[in-house]
Amino acid sequence: MKRAPLARDGAPLGPVWLRLGWGALLVGVGLLWLLPYLWMVVTSLKTLPEIVRAPTAPLPSGLSFEAYAAALEAMPFAHYLWNTTLMALLIAALQIAVALPAAYCLAKLQFRFRTAAFLLVVATLAVPAQVRFVPVFALLAEVGLVNTMSALVLPFGVSAFGTFLLRQALLAVPDALIEAARLDGASEIAIVYRLLPPLLLPALTAFFLFSFTYHWNDYFWPLVMTTDDQVRTLPLGIALLREQGTGVRWHIVMAGNVLLSLPALAVFALAQRHLLRAVTTKAR
């Protein structure tokens, strides 16, 4: 006898009409999240006359890459890409470098103000970038660091989320390991930066990916901290493509948008598992 299809929770799926309805919903949901991307790509392959004449034509009349050429010509794309990637890398690296000893200390060492210190770190979750940016801007302006990579990286040096995550992971590391390393003569620095990272690889990877993606995509902070295109990041550059006044050239904007979305989607495709771990671990 043919086994009735089951859902994840082990129960039978029900009568045909219900399954058809489910199927229709599935297709609908899939379309709702996929069609916009497809439309973005389709638009990017059109030419200006096509956009003006028939902007909603479902397919381009031919495969034209002139929009991509124009988008790349309108800005120093490689420069922005480099800025963005470098910035995201530096931030993630700095966050890990700062969070490791802090998390180790908060998880493993007994000292008087441990609880207070932990609460203080967690409290910073209540002070997001949008609250800090004005004073930080004023501060950086005074020391002449506005519009530099430092302005983009340093303010994010501490990640409360990262510290929290690493602390959680460290709680699961047996004390005996650390004691043994100490007996072997390892210094505390060596323990923090040599012994622990391999043990924390899953958490570190998840956090690195999450932080890298988040800051790569960041628009607000680079917007308020940069004034010209020296350290301008890609999201800002692409957003500038919607030049107003003489007709927005949508095919070029969408071409730029495709270029902007690709790296994030690439990371997602290759490292989905880790990203998801970071997202769901946050709930633990």
Binding site: A7, R8, D9, G10, A11, L25, L26, G30, W33, L34, P36, W39, M40, P55, T56, V98, P101, A102, C105, K108, L109, Q110, T115, L119, V121, V122, T124, A126, V127, P128, Q130, V131, R132, V134, P135, V136, A138, L139, L154, V158, E188, V192, W216, N217, D218, Y219, L236, I238, R242, W250, V253, N257, L260, S261, A264, L265, F268, L275, V279, A283
Partner: protein, 299 residues
């Protein structure tokens, strides 16, 4: 669990970088914001002390009320949508199959790309004259809708775009929560004759409560911090209909050059956020008791 530090000063240097960065980039800015909120400053000339004038101006001009209601309205739509949609998607997509897996990835991928990507994409789709959505409506004989041009619709449209982007996050969390439900419980209930709805209501839903709480509080905080999508799509308009708090602060600083007034708004905003964050932390610790700070015993 706790080891004795090798040297008494070990915790100090381990926490020093964190402490330094926090002091400079978190706590000092808060104090500075409070200080600046009592002055009138345009960044170009010297600040001038004005006491509580900025706060009074925010209140009397109706701006504070307007920004708060806009943000709260926006939040309401986004939070209920994200939770409902997240749960719905999780329930729909909680089954094996390659197609289902692909759809799950598609939904979550919107969460991974930047806000600018999503905003530009929907700016194009929702364009009143050349956008695909109105094109589709026109194809079926409906009139074109000014999605971003009507003060009433714009906020809804922006909320909708936000939902499109973050639904995947809720979905993933609910999926994880659903997988935590012991199958044995559900099988037993099915054997006892409970229908789908009854099984969901009596077994699954109560077990999902911590997750729901978490999704609600997280999307609440996220919705209060929205900026990119407003900046790219509507610049706070039309007629300030989409001027949420963060955008209002940005506008005060960078367009109106009223840094004192903006700082006052920041202080108010911070108070609101702190309350919401406390709420989230409470939900966070309820989700997993071991995450609590080591203070007392766990329930």
């Amino acid at each position: 669990m706790a080891l004795v530090p090798r040297r008494r000063t070990d915790p100090l240097w381990m926490l020093a970088p964190t402490a330094l960065l926090l002091a400079v980039f978190f706590f000092y800015p808060l104090l500075h914001a409070v200080h600046t909120s009592l002055h009138r400053w345009d960044l170009l000339t010297e600040p001038r002390f004005v006491g509580t004038a900025n706060y009074r101006s925010l209140w009397e001009s109706g701006d504070l009320l307007h920004w708060t209601t806009t943000t709260v309205l926006f939040s309401l739509v986004v939070v209920t949508g994200a939770t409902g949609l997240g749960l719905g998607l999780a329930l729909l997509l909680n089954r094996p199959g390659r197609l289902v897996g692909f759809v799950r990835s598609a939904v979550f991928s919107a969460y991974v790309v930047s806000w600018v990507s999503v905003a530009l994409l929907w700016l194009w789709v929702l364009d009143a004259d050349a956008g695909a959505l109105n094109g589709l409506l026109g194809f079926f004989g409906f009139e074109a809708v000014p999605w971003l041009g009507s003060p009433r619709l714009a906020l809804l449209a922006v909320a909708g775009v936000t939902l499109w982007k973050i639904a995947g996050y809720g979905m993933v969390l609910f999926l994880a929560g659903l997988q935590d439900v012991p199958p044995a419980l559900l099988e037993a209930a099915a054997l006892d004759g409970a229908g789908r709805l009854a099984r969901f209501w009596h077994i699954t839903w109560p077990l999902l409560r911590p997750t729901t709480l978490f999704v609600v509080t997280t999307s609440l905080i996220a919705s209060f911090q929205v900026f990119d999508v407003v900046r790219v799509m509507t610049q706070g308009g039309p007629v300030h209909a989409t001027t949420v708090f963060v955008y209002a602060i940005y506008e005060q600083v960078f367009v109106n050059l009223r840094v004192g007034r903006a700082s006052a708004a920041i202080v108010v905003f911070f108070v609101l956020l702190a309350a919401l964050t406390a709420l989230q932390l409470w939900a966070w610790t309820r989700r997993d008791p071991s995450a609590r700070a080591p203070r007392g015993s766990h329930p």
